[in-house]
């Protein structure tokens, strides 16, 4: 089972290593981790997608909470948040295949950000599943490289993982 955690941390050096160190020493399996500053520059948000059963994720939450630079940990509820991941995909291409590749981009709402005579680079920002679909479609053409950001997520409606106090 996959879980998405939204973690607010103090924004200073060393915090990320405290968090990543925790994962390895407590043998937590992390699918992805994305970090960025919040609307309040004193805090960063880390979005973690973790794999495991209820017990594992509960321990992960508790252990994260024990770290002093961690301000808040919130487990996002399935269906009550929107998540996106950005990927850049470079595929092999010949001039003859350009049409097909452009069609795929169109179908998947992906952008083409770079073209050379021998390569095509797509940009897609979507859910994890949609990213996988695009990779599957491109596989027959020969994927040279995929670069992904990891998932970021935000709660739907009024919900907020942390009120950063930026507008106070």
């Amino acid at each position: 089972m996959k879980y998405t955690l939204s973690v607010i941390v103090e924004n200073h050096s060393g915090v990320l290593s405290k968090i990543s160190g925790l994962f390895s020493r407590r043998s937590f399996n992390i699918d992805s981790l994305a970090v960025g500053v919040t609307s309040n520059p004193a805090f960063s948000r880390i979005t973690i997608v973790a794999d495991g059963d209820e017990h594992v994720v509960e321990q992960l939450e508790k252990q994260l909470n024990k770290l002093i630079p961690v301000i808040k940990v919130k487990r996002l509820v399935e269906g009550e948040y929107v998540s996106r991941e950005l990927a850049l995909v470079k595929v092999q291409s010949t001039p003859r295949r350009r049409g097909e590749l452009m069609q795929i981009a169109d179908l998947m709402s992906a952008k083409i950000v770079d073209i050379t005579p021998s390569t095509f680079t797509f940009e897609i920002a979507d859910t994890n599943e949609r990213l996988q679909t695009l990779f599957d479609l491109l596989k027959p053409y020969g994927i040279k490289e995929i670069v992904r950001t990891g998932t970021v997520a935000i709660e739907k409606g009024q919900g907020e993982a942390y009120h950063s106090g930026f507008n106070d």
């Binding site: 941390v9 103090e10 060393g14 290593s17 405290k18 160190g21 020493r25 017990h55 509960e58 321990q59 508790k62 252990q63 909470n65 024990k66 770290l67 002093i68 630079p69 961690v70 301000i71």
Partner: protein, 539 residues
Amino acid sequence: MISGADIMIKCLEAEGIDTVFGYPGAAICPFYDSLYKSDIRHILVRMEQSAVHAANGYSRCSRKAGVCIATSGPGATNMITGIATAYSDSIPVICITGQVKRELIGRDVFQEADITGACEPFVKHSYLVNDTRDLPRIFKEAFHIATTGRMGPVLIDVPQDVQEELVESFEYPEKVEIVGYKPNYRGHKMQIKKALELLRSSEKPLIVAGGGVLSSGSKLKLVKFSEQTGIPVISTLMGIGVMPSEHDNYLGMLGTHGKKYANRALHESDLLIVCGARLGDRAVARPDQVSRTSKIIHIDIDPAEIGKNVTTTVPIVGDMKNVMENLLDEIGDYHISEEWASTYSEWKQKMFRVPPVHEGFVEPRTLVSKLSFMMKSKGILVADVGQNQIWCANNFRIREGRFLTTGGMGTMGYSVPAAIGAKLARPTRDVVAVCGDGSFQMNLTELGTIMQNNIDIKIIVMRNNRLGMVRELQSNIYGGRFSGTILGDPDFTKIAEAYGIKTAEVSSNEEAEKIAETMFKSKEPFVLICNVAPETPSI
């Protein structure tokens, strides 16, 4: 204007620190220069690991944070074992390390080590000071973090130029405000109600007390709770001392090396009230089995302990003192059944046995039990790690004193430096360190510290020319192949004599007791070497 080093001293003074343990070096020299001018007593240890153990022992007996100091690089890395020990036993220790100058950090200069990085898994929190003006806030926070919630070590790494830099003024903050740190002290009312309901519906409740009962200062409340309700108490290794050993309701230590009747009670009970214990693998080998046969109320200040090792029926997160008060307020006239009370008392009587004597050797278990009564009633016994630890854990008859050992990390060499710390915190009490010939040699150099400061601790070395506990394991599991466990011992009495410390070597309990009697009368340190039969079992 005031220097960073002077600020550090003023911070320690503001925290009421009068004794520190340390070892100087170039990167911490400005601090030592300020220390020279202050009234804080500095105990020069012989290796940095001992500074942390001594601060650990000091803290456990003074109910303050212990403070230790080392220089950058190897000084700091030598501390790591001590820090890990304090972390796994949840002991509040403040470790101050010197660091190379800020502009040199990251350039692999002489005696540079990323100590905050290296200690990350073993500290409750750590700081690398970048701005001299942050020092008062950092010290205030460090002491607060170390001594509240689930206690633990905090490391403050101070670059040399931060110690040297002059700033306008010093002001120690009155309050701390750490957004990400708010321990929960009050147990949830609803959970306490549920716990009491569970207790009333149980037939054979049992209290499992851990180190948390001692560190929260709720020992007397727990005793009262047990006496009022009749619920028997067993303890973990770290929990020894929650009740006097001779108390009718106390069944001793549980676990792989525990008392038979304590383990019997654990397995027969239908409700465990786990107080400030994490139930590690040495305490409960098969935690899943325990939670299948009995319900569990788990009281702990650290929410992460709830459900980590055992599945809990009713968790209560809070300070043991508060929770115990709540339980006492609400318990009414509840008392356990006559049947349960008589069952466990019977086990205690039936399963007690006197260890057999090996001719020409000291019987360590009998000796520890005798020593307990030769010490004053508030005496402190510090056990090292190995067979000696188990002999002490099961046979030290604790009255109003303390039993110190490292149950979490199990660090050999703990006893002598920790006993030094304990004695300096409680100078009027008898302090005895019990170790094996293996563990004694791990921090043997501390005899120098003892000599220099005439620290009145009595060291009992259980000598069997073996690493006894591993030897026992090898004889039980590895077909008697004693791989790497035979020690070639020196004449320890000559070593003690070289340090000018009184000493004797004995091979029978009568001799040992006779010498112990005079040993306790003197105000000087003593090293008593007891020859123990190699085949003496741990339990």
